[in-house]
């Protein structure tokens, strides 16, 4: 599995499903942390998600409903 074939390492392709499940799990945990705790670390969580090449998970943060769930969003919305 560590051999290069057609320019890529076969084992890396077979690792992709695990990688995607791990990312989904991590982003879910990050979002839960963000809506419960508002501190620098959870702000960094949100920024890290925004910096991802695949921003599918950023949609969870970037909407009004999610904003209102956070202290940051509540302040912005004047709640």
């Amino acid at each position: 599995m560590n051999m290069i074939k057609n320019g890529y390492v076969a084992g890396a392709v077979l690792l992709i499903p695990f990688s995607k499940k791990l990312r989904d799990h991590v982003e879910t945990e990050k979002f839960l942390c963000r809506i419960v705790v508002d501190n620098d670390q959870t702000k960094q969580f949100k920024q890290n998600t925004a910096d991802l090449k695949d921003q599918l998970f950023a949609l969870r943060y970037n909407n009004e409903a999610a904003n209102k769930l956070t202290a940051e969003g509540k302040a912005k919305n004047g709640d």
């Binding site: 560590n2 051999m3 890396a12 077979l14 990688s19 809506i35 670390q41 409903a65 509540k74």
Partner: protein, 534 residues
């Protein structure tokens, strides 16, 4: 007592009572319960809490941060190891070639590159949203809100396509409505769909089996025939002097067989008509010609005379063996994935209420993506060409992502491993070979003797540390590749006394030959000693 829902907004910077944390942990909403170092907010009314929820959750946040770093490192590693992907496409495989072309219009479809593979993976990842589904979390937040975006071609969907999307404002959606309400609504819909599906399955299971026929015959018809119909018909037929006989027993004043009575007895005829009526009842109500194909033979019952029963559904394409076996299901699948067949998803005409902006892709895109991904996985699982070079060791990735907790690297093997469980030689850019050691009564050594020693490990360094027991008449023997240089061997922390090393050529199990230095202790019967090689 009315059911109450907890809004996450109410929990921000508030202490969560331990009993709620217990429930969250049981429900799987949290993995770790914070250390219960402070009493709950409920029980500490009137006292100042020492810590907040954020403090209690610091351990969880750190863990999530570590998981995030690990995830990023794995993703970067995969990107690094697949960036030069160039899988040739079999020119005779028109399906795969067309799929590759659709995902990369500028290409000729002859090679699957990393970009094409990424596009295929993005299509699969985003399939739920692209086909008008929802991310569960997003759906819970936005209610019936949707995404705004333009209609896409297959090749337009890349891993960063989500950057162009926006969540449409949804007027009814309000965070003042607890998320639990919204998720409960979604779950209710799913539950209703599931219940409907189960009912349909049970209906098909019930009425497509033969046992309704047996149930009617055994529980109602047969007992009545034996107890009532046959005796009555026998008397009637005896005195009626039937002219229409039953085989050899034709004629008047003869005993009629049950079959004869069943066909000719007036009571049995009425009973048969009643049986047909019972068997024809279920189809009248539930016989959907697109789903129900009766296995019970009721043709002789003339159900049409009793009630309007539609005929069993005919195959869509009669004469095609595949269709007859699949009952028309193949045509349904063809229509889903055939680009020439217009579908709702092609025109988006049927879904404006769900997504007015028209975000989506044809179902053919998902089919093409699946084809490409399957081809890549098949290539990855195919036997490796031995003439190709080995890949880099995983520990030598050029640009690993900075993480707070890196993946533990594989440390050098320092344990004594019996020869019966040799460490396999794996592909690596560095040359490694076995080191052998053990106790031996021999004083001269050849290759089989050395490779037959009890311990061996793969390494390309000279340092080693191990414990060995040397019995009466036995000497310590230690052999390692001579290219590693001279060794200083200590026994129990003191310089060991060894004979001058001899040189020996040894061929390992992978047919690789190399010169070795073989050290032999000058003394025997040293007991259990700790060896340090440097």
């Amino acid at each position: 007592m009315p059911q109450q829902f907890i809004s996450p907004a109410d929990l921000i910077n508030r202490q969560i009572p331990p009993e709620i944390l217990d429930q969250l942990q049981v429900l799987g909403r949290i993995q770790f319960k914070p250390e219960d170092t402070t009493p709950s907010a409920v029980s500490t009314t009137g006292t100042t809490p020492d810590t907040t929820v954020a403090d209690n959750l610091s351990g969880v946040l750190s863990h999530v941060a570590e998981m995030e770093g690990l995830s990023k490192q794995i993703e970067d590693m995969i990107d690094q190891l697949t960036k030069d992907m160039a899988i040739p496409v079999d020119p005779n495989n028109s399906t795969l070639k067309a799929a590759v072309q659709s995902l990369s219009p500028t290409g000729d479809g002859s090679t699957i590159t990393k970009d094409i593979f990424d596009t295929a993976m993005a299509l699969i990842d985003h399939a739920s949203i692209l086909t008008m589904g929802y991310d569960p979390f997003l759906a819970a937040l936005t209610g019936d809100g949707s995404l705004k975006g333009s209609y896409l071609n297959c090749s337009d969907v890349t891993r960063d396509i989500a950057k162009t999307w926006e969540v449409a404002k949804s007027a009814p959606s309000s965070p003042s409505q607890p998320i639990a309400d919204q998720t409960a609504k979604i779950e209710d819909n799913y539950a209703k769909q599931l219940a409907q599906m189960v009912i349909e399955i049970l209906q098909n299971f019930f009425f497509n089996m033969l046992w309704p026929k047996y149930m009617v015959d055994l529980s109602i018809i047969n007992p009545i025939r034996l107890m009532i119909a046959n005796p009555l018909d026998s008397i009637i037929c005896f005195f009626k002097n039937l002219k229409r006989g039953c085989g050899d027993r034709a004629g008047a004043f003869t005993v009629k067989s049950p079959d004869c009575l069943k066909l000719n007895g007036p009571v049995n005829k009425a009973l048969t008509k009643f049986r047909c009526f019972l068997l024809c009842i279920p189809p009248r109500k539930l016989w959907d010609p697109t789903k129900y194909k009766p296995m019970v033979d009721i043709s002789h019952c003339h159900c049409v005379d009793l009630q309007p029963c539609p005929p069993a559904p005919a195959p869509v394409n009669p004469g095609v063996d595949r269709d007859s076996k699949l009952g028309g299901m193949s045509n349904l699948m063809d229509s889903l994935f055939d680009a020439s067949v217009p579908t709702c998803s092609d025109t988006l005409s049927g879904v404006p209420s769900q997504n007015a902006a028209g975000l989506g892709v044809p179902p053919q895109c998902l089919q093409n993506a699946t084809t490409v991904v399957n081809a890549v996985v098949a290539d990855a699982l195919s036997p490796t060409d031995p003439t190709r070079s080995p890949g880099p060791a995983y520990g030598t990735i050029n640009s690993p992502a900075p993480v707070s907790t890196p993946i533990p690297s594989v440390t050098e093997q320092t344990e004594n491993i019996p020869v019966s469980n040799p460490v396999p030689v794996t592909g690596s850019t560095a040359v490694s070979n076995y080191r052998y050691w053990g106790a031996s009564t021999q004083t001269t050594y050849d290759a089989p003797t050395i490779t037959g020693l009890y311990y061996k490990t793969i390494s390309n360094v000279i340092t080693n540390n191990f414990t060995i027991t040397v019995g009466v008449g036995e000497y310590i023997v230690y052999a390692y590749p001579s290219r590693l240089g001279d060794a200083n061997i200590a026994i129990n922390g003191a310089p060991g006394i060894f004979d001058a090393p001899t040189s020996l050529s040894i061929t390992n199990t992978n047919a690789y030959t190399e010169n070795y230095y073989v050290y032999k202790s000058t003394s025997s019967n040293l007991g259990t000693v700790n060896m340090e090689v440097a």
